[in-house]
Symmetry: C2
């Protein structure tokens, strides 16, 4: 099992999409600047998210990504799975052949742990996150910062 920035970035980016939906497609450049994730890296991640039918893309100017279905129907575990970060804690992929074709001493423990994590992450949808107070607060702060930097750029350009 691993949970690194890859999976965290994917969930963060999907949540960003869920928070800003309704105003047409969101470009990766927007997500990149809001969430401070490298654009090229986001491209890699969204290729996987698209292949897993979690987002759909619109090319060309004004294009970007949108959730492929309602945010209440997209669960965190699906996002993490999509970028190849398995939530499985066993070494054998749950097959139970970890010790000479049979279960190792701790196989069932890791199975239980996997079930635990899976249940937790599959019980939370993007809509659930959007509704959370802490998420809303962080999102509002990010939008404020965003507006400030746009204003700053305007002043710079105007001179």
């Amino acid at each position: 099992m691993r949970l690194t920035t890859k999976g965290r970035y994917a969930v963060t980016a999907m949540l960003d999409l869920a928070l800003h939906e309704g105003r047409g497609p969101i470009s990766l450049a927007d997500i990149s600047s809001r969430q401070l994730i490298s654009l090229s890296y986001l491209e890699q991640l969204f290729a996987k998210l698209r292949r897993n039918d979690l987002v759909k893309s619109v090319r060309g100017p004004g294009g970007g990504y949108q959730l492929s279905r309602d945010k209440a129907d997209i669960y965190i575990v699906q996002v993490i799975d999509a970028v190849n970060e398995s939530v499985d804690a066993t070494g054998c992929g749950g097959k139970g052949d970890c010790h000479e074709g049979e279960a190792c001493l701790t196989h069932h423990l890791w199975c239980d742990l996997s079930d635990q994590i899976h249940a937790f992450l599959s019980g939370i949808s993007l809509a659930d996150l959007v509704a959370r107070r802490d998420v809303q607060e962080v999102s509002q702060r990010q939008d404020r910062v965003r507006l400030q930097s746009i204003e700053f750029e305007r002043i710079e350009a105007t001179g």
Copy 2:
């Protein structure tokens, strides 16, 4: 967060110790042959387990390792922590400074997940595992295989 063979090996080896305690110290060679873990790698892991006061060692012939305290007082989370596999799912070590010194959009989600995993693994002691039916079954199978290979070696040696 990561849970790889390192943490799994450590827990498996500690459980092996718990299962075979009472007959003096257990050598790493024994654990290695029963659990099919490289002896040199076990040495590395037990150095950390010893530094974290989870086992004590006895040198010389007949020596080996023993649990440093009752198996009911050693929890899985301690073993995993000892070999430097953190159960923390956040990217910031729980500090909440993941986005320009402030919490990132998904910080609280990863905190909740960390709490979940931590609660699960700190609720299970080595004694709990020893008492489990599936662990006992696997352990008995391993002891049978072990006896067979000793018998085989005896016949080989006798000729």
